[in-house]
Amino acid sequence: MDTCPERSSEDVRKIIKTAKLHESELTEVTQILRFPDPSKQNDNLKLMLLDDNLLKEIEGGNQLIFKGDPDENAVLCTSSKTYDIKEAETSNSLLLVPELLFAASTGLDETIVNKSVEGDSDSSFDKSNTSLNKSADSDDGKPPREIVHKDIISTFFTYYELKPCKPRLSKLIKLLDPTKYRGPELEYAVDKSKLYNYEALFDQIQASKAELDEELIKIQAIKIDDHYRLLEFDYEFRVLSHMLDLIEENSWPLDRISKDVTIDSLKDLVPESILEAMFGFYSSESAVDDGIQYYQYKQDKVCQFLARVLLKSAGKFNLTEFLQAWRDSVPEGMTTDESLLSGIALIDKTTTPQVVWGFAESDLPEDINQRFKVLFQTKAKWTVDEISPYIQLYATEKLNVNALLTKYARASTQDGVRVFSAKHMK
């Protein structure tokens, strides 16, 4: 009966017959499916759909990590990618069976043919087709059927679906913001309990290792005594000014900056680890002369930072005056360009005089609807180039900036230029 754990060849044959099947048409093995003893059922299992990349990671023995606080949607991270996790439902039952034999492993035509060659005429194919009414007879002389028992260790009606997604990195700045570095003399004021080392950040941020590492570089987080820190804006300005002042002091050509001299000259003013990091952020290798590596400062990055310094005080500036002050603030030989203000300032050329004011992407709301609202409140009409830096972070491979604008803004043409404005008129 149903609760009998082991079934005999005879039981199986009886059922085959009752079901009006013919043993001769079947391969050699019967698999008896069972629900195992309730104590052996495994309720901790989950099914998860895999793409090629995830399959490769698993077959390669690599680690996959689920990440998410209770208030966040969970993500799955490989070493380099992040996946969004959704649970999908199916109306079918998915019975999970370890070591189930597929047809190919249960004895096939070839085996039967081989056997008939060996002289077992009973299982010949022709005969089996004509044995409809004789199956009872032909069973008699047969060896017992091969019977294996297979356990259904779990039944599923849901499975996880994974989609590659952008890493969720905005939390990183929030975690690092309260402990900004303002110089060694102000370290006493920093709440040490709010410092994060790499492990702690990796636990908290829903991103793969590669994506987190990239972001830490992008936001210029510096490792100080094992903890990741952001430099406070004024402190960064102070250090950068010291560095740039050395150009004139030493009469260096812009592509002949000496790293050793820079660090040596400033190490009494700024901790060496910070000098090293700052030099790395703002310079690139230029030339090797006499075995000495020389560097040059990244012109765009330096000019942009100095523009932010000038724009820092609230309010609008006369554009012409601002551009002059900006030119004066950068090292001699570097050229400022209005295009560098994209994403950090807005210019209004319709007013007299023309004005410019600081408008940083990082100060805008995170929520995309809120952000568009603020953008259109600030300026009624935007060209794609103007608005791009402020919405770039929402763009994905499937939904680029233009698609975002189609979705969240209204397009029109002004003096032959395509501009975007708020979707709903207020």
Partner: protein
């Protein structure tokens, strides 16, 4: 139509790790390959005795075309061996913080046709 539910409550800890722990019958990658049997609806078992295993049904294959046939109580189900469009991992919650990959599923036996009742003229105790 698939319908999505939020999974945040099911993965409560900040970080959970999936490790590959290998078990016997491995694929080339060191992870065993298991199978799924997909049925319409769900199997209801009448079961008095709560201990010990319960037989669900007998699975055979036709040698002619390799198609599976499943005898479930008084029904016969004809199915097909199907390669999954996307393979699945079977993951197991180890303790509170980590998952391990128990197996990979690449193929399933799909029984999507309506079960045929067994009409028996002989009284059989099945």
């Amino acid at each position: 139509m698939n319908h999505y539910i939020d999974v945040r409550t099911q993965i409560p800890r900040a970080r959970q790790t999936i490790n590959n722990n290998n078990i016997k019958t491995e694929t080339e990658g060191g992870v065993p390959e298991w199978a799924i049997i997909e049925l319409q609806g769900l199997i209801q078992m009448k079961k008095e005795d709560q201990s010990g295993p319960t037989v669900v049904g007998d699975l055979h294959y036709f040698s002619r075309n390799r198609h599976p046939v499943l005898i479930l109580g008084h029904h016969v189900l004809n199915g097909k061996e199907v390669k999954l469009e996307q393979p699945m991992a079977v993951i197991e919650k180890d303790d509170t913080t980590s998952y391990k990959v128990k197996a990979i599923v690449k193929k399933k036996l799909l029984f999507k046709s309506r079960p045929k009742p067994i009409i028996s003229n002989v009284s059989e105790k099945v």
